[in-house]
């Protein structure tokens, strides 16, 4: 699996470097999503399939949507007309897609990683010895929710005053 790991790592580093050098936040966002997908590949190769899925769903899905929302709120006039910006991320994503195809074509990816930690083990640990941590994380999410609501309400009040 070393080839899969190396490909994922190279794509992740390349996408991240391209991301921090973009002028336009939307382009940076595209590259960041590719970088997250590549990190998910690396995690999958490392035997953490559950977390790799979480990375795609929560990070590349939900958190990135928040960024897209904020870019939309800040000003649609700043959203660029789709030019050639999609080519770079597309090439990097195609590398990842080819990697998935290669792994599938090998047909032997059945728990090949040296140590695979199954979702069941993760769940047993999360709601066993780490139950206090799970509750603290719930508090943290509640605090984030209340904080974001409070700040957002103040932003609306500021708007109305003007």
């Amino acid at each position: 699996m070393n080839v899969a790991f190396a490909l994922g790592a190279v794509v992740a580093v390349a996408a991240t470097i391209l991301m921090i050098t973009r002028k336009n936040p939307v382009h940076a966002l595209l590259y960041f999503v590719v970088s997250l997908l590549a990190s998910a590949v690396v995690m999958f190769v490392l035997g953490a399939a559950f977390v790799a899925a979480l990375e795609v769903i929560v990070y590349a899905g939900a958190i990135m949507v928040l960024f897209v929302f904020v870019i939309m709120l800040i000003g649609p006039e700043r959203i660029p007309i789709p030019g050639k910006a999609w080519i770079g991320p597309s090439i990097l994503s195609l590398v990842l897609l080819a990697e998935v195809g290669w792994v599938l074509a090998q047909g032997s990816f059945t728990g090949q990683p040296a140590v695979e930690v199954t979702p069941k083990q993760v769940g047993m640990a999360l709601f066993g010895p780490y139950i206090l941590g799970a509750e603290v994380a719930a508090f943290l999410l509640l605090a984030g929710l209340v904080g974001a609501f409070h700040l957002g309400r103040r932003a609306v009040q500021d708007e109305r005053k003007k």
Partner: protein
């Protein structure tokens, strides 16, 4: 099918973390700074995964789940603050934050805190 040497995984996490750090320092767009902080958080999570995979324990993945929930809360509050700042100063320049300290609207903004 050799397993991955975990030093390589840690190296990858370190490189990603460093790239994110360079981004935080060099970019002056608040949105880009938040994105680069996300890169650093993700790299830290990757290091957790590598560690968990090295020892074959679930702890690394549990930590990553905590880290993801923390990142979600951080992004929500951070983006709300960013929108608040943008609504007041109409700019995303981080250097403008320093200037807004002395702006005439600042006392009024403090006054409406309840």
């Amino acid at each position: 099918m050799a397993s991955i040497p975990y030093e390589l995984g840690l190296l990858l996490a370190g490189v990603l973390f460093a790239i994110g750090g360079v981004g935080v320092i060099t970019r002056r767009n608040l949105l880009m700074i938040l994105l680069c902080v996300e890169v650093m958080l993700n790299a830290a999570g990757l290091a957790f995964i590598v560690g968990g995979s090295r020892w074959g324990q679930a702890d690394g993945q549990v930590m990553f789940i905590f880290l993801i929930s923390m990142a979600a809360a951080e992004v929500a509050v951070g983006l709300a603050l960013l929108l608040l700042h943008f609504g007041r100063s109409r700019t995303l320049d981080a250097d403008a934050l320093k200037a807004s300290e002395r702006s005439p609207s600042a006392p009024e903004a403090v006054g409406d805190e309840r």
